[in-house]
Symmetry: C2
Subunit: 212 residues, 2 copies
């Protein structure tokens, strides 16, 4: 009822099974990362944003590192999942010999829609988060590596389709494609008024149209 020092005891937060708490806490942590950077993700802040106290957080995650690790893994995985869902349509386009500009524009459009569907997730996936503990950047690079490998497939298709010189190697194309996709995502997320997805899609169409 009342504490040692005579202060009124805080009202109890509703009790919640641990797996649900885990999700709530990670959601709160994500919001904080996005809004204030990962340095602001203190155990206290996560607790407060979830409406509980610090030891509750420690009841779910043994330490801050684990919390951040699980958060990043969860978001990376979910983002990757969204990308995988775009693959069938893309592959069909590549195989069917559709017009390159259409194939690429469709893919970009789908991607930016995915980004807008989960803005917080993507804003932490799509920008480097400098000076995180090494293991996190490693995790990020791992996922990004998968995407790059997949983009190389696209790179090979591009060199074939446009009959490019071998100087334009698929790995370079992959880096370019992924980097530009990330750029578009960042702009769409940080300044949605000025940078609508359609703008990038149209721009891409026009650029591809210049070839040949």
């Amino acid at each position: 009822m009342v504490t040692k020092n005579g202060r009124r005891r805080r009202e109890y937060a509703p009790r919640v099974p641990i797996e649900q708490r885990r999700r709530e806490l990670l959601d709160a942590a994500l919001r904080i990362v996005v809004r204030d950077g990962h340095g602001a993700v203190t155990m206290e802040a996560v607790a407060a944003a979830t409406g509980v106290t610090k030891p509750v957080v420690y009841g779910v995650f043994p330490n801050r590192e684990t919390l951040l690790g699980e958060l990043l893994r969860r978001e990376q995985a979910a983002a990757l999942e969204q990308l995988v869902e775009l693959l069938p349509a893309l592959r069909k386009g590549l195989a069917a010999g559709a017009h390159p500009a259409d194939v690429l524009a469709e893919a970009l459009d789908g991607f930016l829609a995915a980004v807008r569907a989960a803005p917080e997730r993507w804003s932490c996936v799509v920008s480097p988060m400098a000076d995180m503990p090494a293991q996190f950047n490693a995790a990020r690079e791992e996922t990004r590596g998968l995407v790059l490998a997949s983009a190389e497939e696209l790179g090979r298709w591009i060199t074939r389709t446009f009959d490019a010189s071998t100087d334009l190697d698929p790995e370079l194309i992959a880096h370019t494609v992924v980097t530009l996709a990330e750029m578009a995502a960042r702009l769409v997320l940080t300044d949605p008024e000025r940078y609508e997805p359609a703008r990038f899609v149209k721009g891409l169409r026009a650029a591809v149209g210049l070839v040949r």
Copy 2:
């Protein structure tokens, strides 16, 4: 000679005028930022890396924020200076109606040479440094804004030269060019064996060669 607790007194570092110290300290801070992230730039760490003690650092910078601020300003300014030196050659190319592939390849080559000439500087200029105090990102964005504006000039030249549709607007081109330059720089800096500047230059040539 000897301290209160009977410990031997530390040997005095050579005395150095303040402006030189300032440079030394900023140099040390830069090395630390690049190697271990900005979180590792504690006043203590900077002092140690310079071979002095903490109060010496406070003798030059009133607080950590100022130190980091001055560091970033210095590096941004120096980087910008390197870019400005590349401008005359580029402008000449644009005006002289040289072959676009040559103009662009030359520019990229010059840029990557500049990056390799000052790798630490560029590795902190070229990657976002998430979760720095807001003012620093603001400073970075300011400089980057100048570069973007300049790149827009290039964008207009490109649309003119290739007679592109208005969907490919100069602002988009500017973002693309700057982002890809940053990407190349990052790759060259983090994995110089695998990504030599020439690789990007040849790739760019090949890509531009596809047009028309």
